[in-house]
């Protein structure tokens, strides 16, 4: 079965600092990869996704993620965070095998607090 690990449960940093959130998954075959964000009191929304092609994916609000197949990783980055980036971030994987169906497997989430 596929699993997703996010390395940090909580991250606290100051505005303008750089952010990197780790995500590793367990499935060895072809995958679709996602980062979702949940701002306080709001819906989960898609930040970016990787299906194929360029392993460096750019998303909304200045975020990017790099898919490294050999490391089974899909780390999220932002070079300079803002107070408004305070949120919980979830990595998710959809393994492209019949048994996985259409379901996404989510990581445990990382709560990011950006101090003004």
């Amino acid at each position: 079965a596929q699993s997703v690990s996010q390395h940090n449960h909580h991250v606290i940093l100051s505005e303008a600092a750089s952010l990197e959130l780790g995500c590793n998954y367990s499935y060895g075959g072809t995958v679709n990869l996602f980062w979702y964000v949940q701002y306080p009191g709001q819906h989960l929304q898609l930040l970016l996704k990787y299906f194929s092609g360029d392993p460096l994916v750019k998303g909304i609000k200045g975020f990017e993620a790099e898919f490294i197949k050999s490391k089974f990783s899909f780390n999220l980055r932002k070079p300079s965070v803002q107070w408004s980036d305070t949120a919980e971030y979830f990595c998710a994987v959809n393994a492209l095998i019949k048994a996985a169906g259409n379901k996404l497997t989510f990581g445990g989430g990382t709560r990011v607090l950006v101090k003004p």
């Binding site: 997703v4 996010q6 449960h9 679709n32 996602f34 979702y36 709001q42 819906h43 989960l44 929304q45 898609l46 996704k49 299906f51 979830f90 998710a92 959809n94 492209l96 169906g101 259409n102 379901k103 996404l104 497997t105 989510f106 990581g107 445990g108 989430g109």
Partner: protein
């Protein structure tokens, strides 16, 4: 604009009560999902449905059932609520592989 709605934002129920959580999507998606979200555990899949009247167990189906009588509506049922089912419940819908899931605002259920 894509929309997934859930019947309640907050719900308080007593142990042993039967609880219904409703989810409606207006995107004509075939696939719908129920997750629960708990701190440190992320989103865990309870059940999903890939067509009307079709359902599949997710990772934590125990204590839950679902109903999908119409394409746009997917209901989660707690047959006999227990305190360990206190959680945030999220509904999502999804067109299929290659597309993103869209989430509802969530229902925060407290079972006392």
């Amino acid at each position: 604009d894509v929309k997934v709605t859930q019947s309640s934002r907050y719900l308080v129920k007593r142990t042993g009560e039967k609880v219904f959580l409703e989810c409606v999507q207006d995107m004509d998606h075939e696939n719908m999902f129920w997750y629960r979200q708990d701190p440190g555990l992320g989103l865990r899949l309870i059940y999903f449905s890939y067509d009307v009247k079709m359902k599949e167990k997710g990772d934590i189906p125990e204590g839950y059932s679902v109903s999908r009588e119409k394409k746009e509506r997917f209901s989660l049922i707690l047959e006999s609520a227990s305190t360990n089912q206190t959680s945030m419940y999220l509904c999502a819908s999804y067109q299929g592989r290659g597309y993103e899931q869209y989430f509802g605002p969530g229902t925060r259920l407290t079972v006392t």
